[in-house]
């Protein structure tokens, strides 16, 4: 009896994950569980045990949510990039080191008098080249991406130390600092949010109307409206919460815009389709005439691009560049963890950049919540490890079970 029931549950679970919106369900559940635990359960326990004299939901306060989003932003930026190579079934271990090199270079350029925005453009260009160079080695020399990017990790860590012999540099350029400091006025934030919601609803309804006109099978009304309403609630809630503390920061708007662009490219263009095809069956992609090697190189270039942007975001948020914040710290594992926790498969061919953002929020929330409860760094590492393991286990269990995937 019991194993049978379990099997059908798993089957249902994998079936759920195959649907368009279903890929978000596990990571959203994880996020809800973490927020519920830190935001509601822990304060409640404190109240009951008399450690606190009133119910104080510090974790869910607008101030903490704001900090949480900003803390997760750099992880999310890298995770979005890493998702692109994960879709191909490759991995990039050098993303954080690339971000470190780019941030260090940005600091040095700004210090030597280069204005902020050309410095950012140079740094983005350098990031793309650093990523593409690794991609060339993977695609044309045929070295596994794990090895190439492991070498890249070591090499770029060294390079960062060369650029920053002191290991630390303050960045005071107003343009660079502005990315994290500029806030969108409350009203404009709401207008922007509503515009995005309207666009989303319009695109979905229009697609449904075209489906009807072409005589194709329709999405169920429940799925359609559920999708629109869920999206609306999330966007409005985020904007209002951020407005309740400060306002919508420019950094987050940029991050969402870049992710939306990459999300659109991966799901709605022939290039994006080829990413999924190569990740699903590279031989098949080659036979239908896709340029598999060039696609690989371009994917690694995109990781380099996102790493550079992550470096700029980091430098902007911290106001400084340090070795430990990027190349030497836990950023890499957090970013890969975020992508995988979000539901992107390590086996290639399945995933989404939006999931990476949610995964980054899971990692960020864990760190933030454990910090608030006064947990040690050791506890944080162990809990993060357990969550990552759980995410990969879910990935492995919800794959097609007959092993025909490869």
């Amino acid at each position: 009896m019991q194993p049978d029931a379990k099997l059908t549950f798993l089957d249902r679970f994998s079936a759920l994950r195959e649907t368009q919106f279903g890929t978000f369900v596990p990571v959203l559940l994880a996020l809800a569980a973490i927020w519920g635990y830190f935001g509601l359960v822990l304060p409640f326990i404190d109240l009951i045990s008399g450690q606190a004299d009133s119910f104080r939901a510090i974790f869910l306060s607008p101030r903490n949510i704001y900090n949480l989003f900003m803390q997760s932003a750099v992880i999310a930026t890298l995770a979005v990039g890493i998702t692109i190579v994960l879709l191909l079934g490759d991995i990039d271990l050098s993303a954080a080191a690339t971000a470190g090199v780019c941030a260090a270079l940005l600091g040095v350029l700004v210090l030597s008098g280069v204005p902020g925005w050309p410095a950012c453009i140079i740094v983005i260009f350098v990031g793309i080249i650093m990523g593409a160079a690794q991609g060339l080695l993977v695609a044309y020399v045929g070295i596994p991406s794990f090895v190439v990017t492991l070498a890249g990790l070591l090499g770029y860590q060294g390079l960062m130390q060369k650029i920053l012999p002191t290991g630390n540099l303050n960045v005071g350029d107003p343009f660079v600092r502005g990315i994290a400091r500029v806030l969108i006025p409350d009203l404009w934030g709401i207008v922007l949010g509503l515009a995005v919601v309207g666009l989303f609803a319009y695109a979905n309804l229009r697609k449904q109307a075209r489906r009807k006109a072409l005589g194709l099978e329709l999405d169920s009304a429940l799925a359609l409206w559920g999708q629109v309403i869920a999206f609306t609630v999330i966007v409005v809630a985020v904007v209002l919460t951020l407005n309740a503390y400060r306002s919508l920061p420019l950094l987050l708007v940029l991050l969402v815009a870049i992710t939306a662009l990459l999300g659109w490219i991966t799901t709605s263009t022939p290039y994006g389709r080829s990413l999924f095809a190569v990740g699903g069956n590279a031989e098949s992609a080659r036979r239908v005439g896709m340029k598999v090697k060039r696609i690989r190189v371009s994917a690694f270039a995109i990781v380099g691009l996102m790493a550079a942007i992550g470096g700029i975001f980091g430098a902007s948020r911290y106001g400084s560049v340090s070795y430990t914040a990027f190349a030497g710290g836990s950023l890499l594992l957090e970013a890969i963890g975020a992508a995988v926790i979000g539901g992107t498969s390590l086996f290639g061919g399945r995933g989404s950049v939006w999931n990476a953002i949610l995964g980054a929020l899971v990692i960020g929330s864990l760190g933030n919540g454990l910090d608030l409860t006064g947990a040690s760094a050791a506890d944080k590492l162990m809990v993060s490890g357990a969550i990552l393991l759980l995410a990969v286990a879910i990935d492995a269990l919800s794959r097609p079970s007959n092993g025909s995937g490869r």
């Binding site: 195959e18 075209r210 489906r211 263009t269 389709r273 699903g280 992609a285 399945r350």
Partner: protein
């Protein structure tokens, strides 16, 4: 060079695709030694031979995956050049490999359009790779292709290929080959890994291809399938033609003997 087959005479239909005197060497191995082969439209031509007879090599030469060392191609009687897979597909020659080469993580419609995805008009300022996909057009095309082959068991063109049965996958691989404006469809052991019901489904699809006036090349070891579905049978042995038979005028035993022993001394084969 001509080894006009002894069994099929004037009754043979006019060839759509024909090759004459194909030679292919791999280093010291002389895999094809002057093979002739032809297939007409609206015909299923079975290609049989023991392991190592050169079936797969011949098929890859026809598909442009291997370059023949010597020999000539004719399409509707006119000489043609096939030096790459792209040449072959431009001539309308499509191949369905044994491993199908489907992307299991994508849905049926995405697989059917793979590599030639339709894009929405009006975005010409973007490179083609970055223009928006017209996924509804893709579904319409997929539905047409599936309907043409009468694959009735398939519920939705939005189903992921990873969740389909072996027969359905084979049908989708065939539909992909047919969808690309092809006139010649080559099937490599399409029923090798399938059960009885699945095999039936695939054979029905092959018959539909004949009805839609495609030239079908059917490679198989399974005599029962061959006799059910083919019109003519070309037998290869040691990289040369043994003979071409009309299916209705021969029997499995004769074919097996031809495959394993050739025609002994009665017929000389072109070398």
């Amino acid at each position: 060079m001509t080894s006009e087959n002894k069994v099929v005479g004037q009754a043979a239909p006019p060839a759509h695709l024909a090759v004459r005197g194909i030679h292919k060497r791999f280093g010291g191995v002389h895999a094809l030694r002057g093979v002739d082969f032809e297939v007409a439209r609206g015909e299923v031509m079975a290609l049989v031979g023991d392991n190592g007879a050169g079936k797969s090599t011949l098929m890859k030469v026809l598909a442009g995956a291997h370059l023949a060392d010597d020999g000539a191609f004719f399409l509707d009687g006119k000489p043609a050049e096939v030096t790459s897979p792209n040449d072959a597909s431009e001539l309308g020659i499509q191949i369905v490999y044994q491993d199908l080469a489907l992307c299991e993580n994508l849905d049926v419609s995405a697989n059917l359009s793979l590599g030639s995805e339709p894009v929405k008009p009006g975005w010409s300022f973007l490179p083609r790779l970055l223009r928006p996909l017209d996924d509804l057009e893709m579904e319409v095309k997929a539905k047409k292709a599936i309907d043409r082959l009468e694959v009735r068991t398939l519920q939705s063109v939005r189903a992921k290929v990873g969740g389909l049965s072996g027969g359905q996958r084979q049908a989708i691989a065939i539909a992909r080959a047919v969808g690309a404006e092809s006139t010649v469809v080559m099937l490599d052991e399409p029923t090798a890994a399938l059960g009885v019901a699945q095999t039936r489904q695939v054979l029905e699809v092959v018959k539909r291809l004949r009805e839609t006036n495609h030239a079908v090349v059917y490679i198989s070891h399974n005599m029962r399938d061959i006799f059910e579905v083919s019109d003519r049978i070309t037998v290869l042995r040691h990289g040369t033609n043994v003979a071409t038979y009309t299916t209705s005028e021969t029997n499995p035993d004769e074919i097996v003997v031809a495959m394993t022993r050739g025609l002994d001394t009665e017929n000389g084969n072109a070398a």
